[in-house]
Symmetry: D4
């Protein structure tokens, strides 16, 4: 079947894991297209004020920004065939875990990607996933298997 | 991802807000396509009699017209990624609020667009929205952020 | 079938229409129970500040209040068998139209209740309803028919 | 309406916030019943091995335990009217954020509960909530408002 | 399991098939409760005018009546575990076939009940059913089997 | 929006109503594509035996045929934006009413098409429709309005 | 929360595993109620002919019986909180695997129960389960954990 | 309608039934595209270890593999219009029956394909199907009928 798979790459924005997956997938010639949240941290934090205007209270500034971000992320997750969720060692990344829960309730297949030393802390999220990877190259292998083999 | 976003523009039909959003989006080069209810007020009021024939009782004439309009609006809202709902200062625009409720229950991201002096009256509708704008250009900025940044 | 029907009474909070429906239904001995939004206007406006604490910006004060109100209203609409939506001649009542749209998308049967001079303005909402009444006593008759006849 | 509300209390298991909400609700005479994950940390970690038997690999031991926990948590979240999610300052609590995402996709009203210094880190989760509280007593007030006022 | 089954009895209103099923079920001591459309033909035809008031145009009089009837029938079909649809030899009973299609799309198990000489005309409806009976007593046997054996 | 509308034409197979709608739509230059059940009566009756082989019992022959037909009709109805259902004066056409009920439960906009002398018999089906037409040309006008005006 | 859990026990009907789970659960004082398919093999095979009458062709006799059985099983699976699926060493038990797939698509938590020597053959079904047990007593422990701990 | 049908071919991987269906469909010029699980038995068994790395315990090795396989199969079943499920005489093929149950709960039309001597064992699965074939050529005929006739 001439099918292009849509893969949403959620989570950590401070390492090159997305590029490694996208490059590996392209090199493997797989019919996949990728989407992601805005990965420019500063731009993401200003999603609200940059579009709707100033807001002096930090809580509401974040609230506005998170709303604008959600237009993007929830639409792309709903449109995805597979959702990959990456957890790194910086920040708490609650939004990544939120995305995983959101995808799980929609019945989307999830792949988690994180170092093994996060295994215990992520056990509930991992349990909802179809695969738990610790390197981006494994995700490429999974996509290769799922899409073309 | 080569994705074209579908945006439904609900509500007020007596100002140029739709054109301003569509023009701004086109100038920004965003992959978005827009849909809307029939915005010719007279044509909309005659949606029933113009298609099905005369009806002498005003209530049923409206009923017929609203049915034909709903074929269009409910189909397009269901097919939309994002629903923008505009409230102006003329008329009660209950159909705009109805569309917002309909979109909310379907889990569609909503952006409302109205003057700040309607804030209190629209608080429930705004609460269901991911963003509250007061100028069409802000909606363009939101789409720019959500679609391409 | 020993079934108690759940009826949600949405909309106008400045006349006694809810009492007239509830009294009429009780006098008719119908197995129905009613729910509604908070109908004390001042309490409703303070739903956020009264529960979560002060907020100085009017927009966000409304936003907080509307969120707390929505916990109640969306839960009760989802739990309802029938949703009655009342439009009066004061205020714009966009939240009532929003509730109607929300109920329609969930497939709940809707009854609208309003004066005939609002017919044209409410034609889209009325079209989504199974019945359009102009007096609370008609709603009682509809419930009597739907529930027991 | 004689309705008992079901409230699921997700998240942190190392402080007395559940007791404070339950006590406050009972003292207020509200018709609410509460459910929660297993809050005994050791028991929760042994959910798999304590029911299914030994497993020597830590990853799979966690996997088994998370599966048994999910039988409980996903069933109770699906059955809940309202989901309260508590974030504390210990641990990463990704499961709490996962529960929030899961509840959001199901359309359940969410209340988050956390210290204001977590506001920025939790902005996406808070945006999906109908209310953001920082003390359990505020949650009681919200329930009082939503359920009986 | 102490479960009471809800059975909706759709279709023909001019013979005693409902009574025979209800009596047989009661005599068999089965935990089932039954619901049905209004079976008084005249009352059903006046469902609109009897509740909402006069309407001189026959089409709209029927339209009003059908709306009020649908409040009842769609609610009860949605609440049913099993839907029995009876076709007789009088009238066209398109509403019975409509109910069957409605129940099928909701995933409700359907039992049809009709004379064998209607088999060919009803083949599409029968195909959507889990059982095709020609006597009410067979429906009782099916309920006995499904509920208690 | 460059959108092609999918329209399913259910019901009567003994008059040229489908051709008239398709021709009128093409002449109007509307972006619509049409689908329908198999309209060759003999072929439809042999849908089972013609594909799966002989079956001597009439009931099961019909059952096999209706199953094969349903693969087509249910798939196309689920894929449709709008469902037009035609009732003629021959046969009972219960399958048309079944399709209407099926489409209604899926939230598809329905247009019915029949002579006014069937109004009373079809009142429940008509009530579930957004428009009731008596000539194919009216359906073309409705599509013209819904799709392009 | 005073909640009674509904547990559906699907699969093998030739050993006492249901009794062992039900007895263990009762002795543990757990608020659970159980449902199951008809477990009398002969009665199950005659579900069609015993209710609807004779049918001479084996295929259609099975078809009738399976329809009547499905009224029971699909209703009870839809009503269940948890679905336990037992695979034994006799027969192919495709209906048990079918039930598991059906429950999985509905988002019901599944527990599988079978000997370890079936692990490889059941790997896809086990993967869709939240827990894989090999003795009924483990299922009791899981229910004890999920329901009350 | 210029529609390409998506057909998922589930089940047995040790005979040439998929090729026969695909060849027959191509020769018939039907607009259908096919998808399937990975049909290389060894590759399928190594879906987990081949992508994620070694795992010494057989149960968990299968578990990993089944997860990776499910990413593919559940995505493709959800995207399919029609699901064909083949049962052969080797192995227990519980995953095929699982797929059938999964597809049934999603409302997908199912065609089963197996020798008549499996009729009794497969009666529940067959009952959920729209057609029961015993040769691949019959499936081609069904597709020809459903898609183009």
């Amino acid at each position: 079947m001439d099918r292009t798979w849509s893969v949403y790459l959620s989570g950590e924005i401070h390492s090159d894991w997305r590029e490694r997956i996208e490059t590996g997938t392209r090199e493997a010639g797989l019919p996949a297209e990728f989407s992601a949240p805005v990965t420019d941290h500063a731009a993401s934090d200003e999603a609200g004020t940059g579009t709707l205007g100033e807001e002096s209270t930090p809580f509401w500034r974040d609230h506005m920004g998170a709303g604008v971000n959600a237009i993007r992320t929830q639409t792309l997750i709903r449109a995805a065939d597979v959702v990959v969720v990456r957890f790194g060692d910086k920040y708490r990344q609650w939004n990544a875990a939120f995305d995983a829960g959101y995808a799980a309730a929609l019945g989307k297949p999830i792949v988690t990607l994180h170092d093994p030393d996060l295994d215990h802390a992520l056990k509930e999220v991992d349990r909802a996933a179809m695969a738990v990877a610790d390197r981006p190259e494994q995700v490429v292998e999974i996509l290769r298997y799922a899409i073309t083999k």
